[in-house]
Amino acid sequence: MEGLVIALFICLVLLIITKYWSWPVIPFYILAGIALGTSGLKLVAPDAISAFLSELGLIFLLFYMGLEIKPDRILSNQKTFFSSGIIDLNINLVIGFVASYALGFSLQESLVIASAFFISSTAMAVASLIENKKLLMRESETIVWMMVFEDIVLIIFLTLLSTSMSNPLFLIGKLAAVLFLFYVVTRYGKRWIQKVINREDELPVFLTFSAVICIAFVSQAIGLPETLMVIAFGAALASTDPRSFELQARPFKDVFLIIFFVFFGIGVDFSGGFPLFVIVAISALAIASKLVSGLIIGRVVHGQAGSGVEIWANTIGRGEFSIALASLYGSAVVSAAIAAMVIITSVIGSFTAKYSGTFSRLFDKARNKNKPSNGTMVN
């Protein structure tokens, strides 16, 4: 228990410092965890309480993500959504997979690393666009849609990675039954849910908290991956009153996710050897492959590769979802490699996001030496 208190206190200090300087905070939680835990000072060891709280962090992250899935919005932006998303997926997943396989990971491990390698941090990208006041850039919308696409791909990854461990047909059948149940409940109970979630007393917050935990528990009991179930639950509730649910779920997500990150760091184990070369190679490739995909997306979506530099600069950081994948499916070595990749890419990513304007101007200048630069803002 005192380990948890130490970890919480350090996270609080880190949070205050990083918010003051507008840095991304996720890598610091993980670094602090590494310093405190198994690979560091061994001050804090994971126990049953921290494991439970970390799990809450993960399921509330995924539940919150589910709430954000609104098919009607996606359908109104199909073109950008699919073209940018598919380029992003293909290039990064392939480079990530080939690289990790070449570095000697097994097929299964390479798949986990490639997924974590592909998926940028939505939280960091959104925060960087808002904090660096870049929302007006036309690339911003592309970036936001890319993040939504990545989230949806994550759901597919989670399905694939969990089906590989049991009978896929049986699982899909059960999943379909549950989804149908969610659909029926939110369809016919919509009025009631909307009424209850907007009450002023403690009912909405407790309903959100207990419903998500119950869903996660029930899914374990009936042998379904809880990750998928809470996302599906969130997506089903998104058809009732997503804003109110977000409001209620957010405190749980914010608090437990911090515990999740720091205890992920605490659990990182470099005792199997510190694969320095692997870490550097994967992190460098993670940055380079987003540049390649960014440039192509800039070309295809905005007709200008310079836009791609802007897209790249804001999507380098890997974060919450990469760590989630590592904690769910990664072995010790894989988790260590992903943790290092998240730390390196998110620190570099916050720097590139801040100075992206300069980068893309330099890039345009270098490309069209004779033509005047076009700039990357809307006009």
């Binding site: 959104v126 919308e141 803002m377």
Partner: protein, 161 residues
């Protein structure tokens, strides 16, 4: 003038307006409640940004609707164009030492200047339509209504210490 709005997942709602002169104004209602306003001149490349709290945004909006003209002195002029251009000014003043302890009737504000005191704000309490025997305290904020000339008289008569 082209206006479009779009919901951006994770960010909020965006309204983008391209003016007839091809300048761009974009407003983002962020999830944290704040509002970012971008303006971009049509030949420019770097937009200017301001981040506003909801109350600041409401004030800005009120100014821009044109019904209200606000200066740093907190004066508001309302023009009713349908009523042969009737103009009424509303002004706020802080009560100083000279008026403290005296009542509205006692000071003969309306008789001398034509100005009517329509509201008083004291601390976090407001009094609307105060009775004539209302007694001022130092530090009260009063809202006075009248024509611009009448308000000027009021300032000359009472506000000069």
């Amino acid at each position: 003038m082209a206006l479009r709005s779009i919901n951006l997942p994770g960010i909020g709602t965006k309204y983008e307006l391209v003016t007839d002169k091809n300048d761009t104004v974009a407003i983002f209602f962020l999830k944290n409640g704040n509002i970012q306003m971008y303006t971009l001149p049509h030949e420019g490349q770097t937009p200017c940004v301001a981040e506003l709290t909801p109350s600041e945004a409401r004030r800005l909006g009120a100014i821009m609707t044109g019904a209200i003209m606000e200066s740093d002195q907190e004066s508001v002029e309302i023009a009713f164009s349908a009523l042969s251009d009737l103009r009424i000014s509303i002004h706020t003043y802080m009560i100083g030492k000279s008026m403290a302890g005296r009542g509205i009737e006692d000071l003969q504000i309306r008789a001398k200047t034509g100005v009517t005191i329509i509201a008083i704000s004291r601390g976090d309490k407001n009094v609307v339509n105060p009775s004539p025997d209302f007694v001022f305290k130092e530090g009260d904020a009063v809202v006075a209504i009248g024509e611009t000339d009448q308000l000027r008289n009021f300032e000359r008569e009472y506000m000069v210490e």
